[in-house]
């Protein structure tokens, strides 16, 4: 206490009055270069990946928190993750499989559907939850600093883990229908990575947009619904007339879903749609990263 009072009334110029040795110690250890430089925002900067890496614990905890909370709040917990694509498959099998004959290259229609709906569910859920992630975490964003990009990416990661859980049912179906595994299966992990990057790109963009324009959130479910039907999910891409295929392939999901099926069922890969999907995904990612980064500095002021 005596020290405190002495310090409080000490003229600030005399460093010699500072009492503790710890203090001198920390002063001597001041780094040559600033640890943190704060500057006005500039429109063109690169994402500081080393900083994002330094915050990897936070990324892990965001994912952990969302999973944990979900399993505490819902009765069925993990079961929902499995039920969502499964129920959709059931609905389409009943209402489409019976009424129309969908040409599926001898793949049983339920399996054909589930493979695509599982992929689609991951994609649409990832976009939906990452687009809301910044708004949902607004209280945190206005109180603590961390690389904002962690928030929407963590939202995608949560959905990726759902996808992996629901993949167990796919495995069961593959065994049930006696599908023989082929070398094509080795393309599956790269395709999932590709899909994750695409979802992250779109999620980044929409999450930033959602902070600025609140009605973006209302539009997203409608657009996702539309997107589902212009993707080869309940039908194969081969149903699309050849002269439209070029335009159809501009939908980056075409290349992913068609080739996910090809890798699972040992069918020939479709290179054309794969390449256009990769190019478009890359463009989306670069654009989203740019938009996100440009808006990032405003989040705390706008949210």
């Amino acid at each position: 206490m005596i020290n405190e009072n002495a310090r409080a009334s000490a003229p600030r110029t005399s460093g010699s009055l500072q009492p503790t040795s710890d203090l001198l110690h920390s002063a001597f250890l001041l780094p040559e270069e600033p640890v943190i430089r704060i500057r006005p925002s500039r429109p063109f900067r690169f994402i500081n990946l080393s900083e994002v890496w330094a915050y990897r614990d936070l990324f892990y905890f965001f994912v952990w928190r969302d999973l944990k909370v979900r399993y505490k709040q819902t009765v069925l917990g993990a079961l929902w993750v499995i039920l969502q694509p499964l129920l959709m498959t059931l609905i389409f099998v009943v209402f489409l499989g019976i009424v129309v004959h969908v040409p599926t290259e001898h793949v049983p229609y339920p399996l054909f559907l589930y493979a695509a709906l599982l992929t689609w569910t991951f994609f649409s859920n990832a976009i939906a939850s990452s687009s809301y992630s910044l708004v949902v975490n607004a209280p945190m964003i206005t109180k603590v600093y961390f690389p904002r990009v962690i928030v929407p990416v963590a939202a995608v990661a949560v959905r990726l883990s759902d996808f992996l859980i629901a993949s167990v049912i796919l495995l069961v179906l593959l065994v049930y229908y006696g599908v023989r595994p082929s070398w094509n299966l080795f393309m599956l992990p790269p395709l999932v990575v590709h899909l994750t990057i695409l979802a992250t790109g779109i999620g980044l963009w929409l999450s930033a947009l959602n902070v600025k324009y609140r009605d973006v959130g209302t539009v997203i479910p409608v657009l996702l619904q539309l997107w589902m039907f212009v993707s080869p999910i309940i039908y194969p891409a081969s149903l699309v007339p050849a002269r439209w295929r070029m335009i159809y392939n501009l939908n980056p999901l075409v290349g992913i879903i068609e080739n996910v099926r090809a890798s699972l069922f040992g069918l020939p890969f479709d290179r054309g749609s794969m390449i256009s999907s990769a190019v478009i995904t890359l463009l989306i990612l670069v654009y989203s990263a740019y938009v996100f980064h440009r808006m990032e500095d405003e989040f705390a002021d706008v949210v």
């Binding site: 001041l30 430089r37 006005p40 109180k143 600093y145 002021d301």
Partner: protein, 254 residues
Amino acid sequence: MRPIVRVRNLSKRYELRKSHSANPTLREALVGALSSPRARLGNGRSSRDVLWVLRDVNFDVEPGEVIGIIGNNGAGKSTLLKILARITRPSDGEIDIYGRVGSLLEIGTGFHPDLTGRENIYLNATILGMKRREIKGKFDEIVAFSEVEQFLEMPVKFYSTGMYLRLAFAVAAHLEPEVLLLDEVLAVGDLAFQQKCLAKMREVSSEGRTVFFVSHSIAAIQGLCNRVFVVSAGQVSEPENKEIAIAKYVQDGS
């Protein structure tokens, strides 16, 4: 001594929209862009009011100094802390900080009501910038300080306000950055809680930590701070005499 925090020509301005609502919608933006493209491209700036929250602020802070920031509501105290905490960026100027910064602008940032006390300690400490290893090492200390041992496995939504505050402060008190930013965190809680916080803060500042401390509590400012910054109309000044400044602030602020 070399400063640990160097602030040069710091300014922060907000552009206030005149015609648009606070939360614009995409529809409004699209309609606006379509109906008056020329206004948007040409002189979009002129339709906005500019509010300078901070203007041309300069100061140096040496390691181990405890700075009390006082001023009326809306003077820019919180904005200054938010810029130092990197939550928002300055419009102009530069700041160099020669150490890690921990900010505590609110008690219990990121606490999730459905998670248990134990889980929230990990979550909150990570949000405040601690590494998992660090948290593990200090976990028992944090729990002891919070006095909620028996309720550690209970979701914090069942905590009383006092328990919640103690747990949240316990986590924050164990942050160990070189520069600590605190915004009015002692305004909450009962007297016993405030005393405990003050005691802990005294301990923290005696360890040579540099602290920026926004408060309306005269006792806290007098007891803890060895320098006082007065924020007024976007300017930051350091009075010759701390006591007079505090007295003036009391007159102004009440």
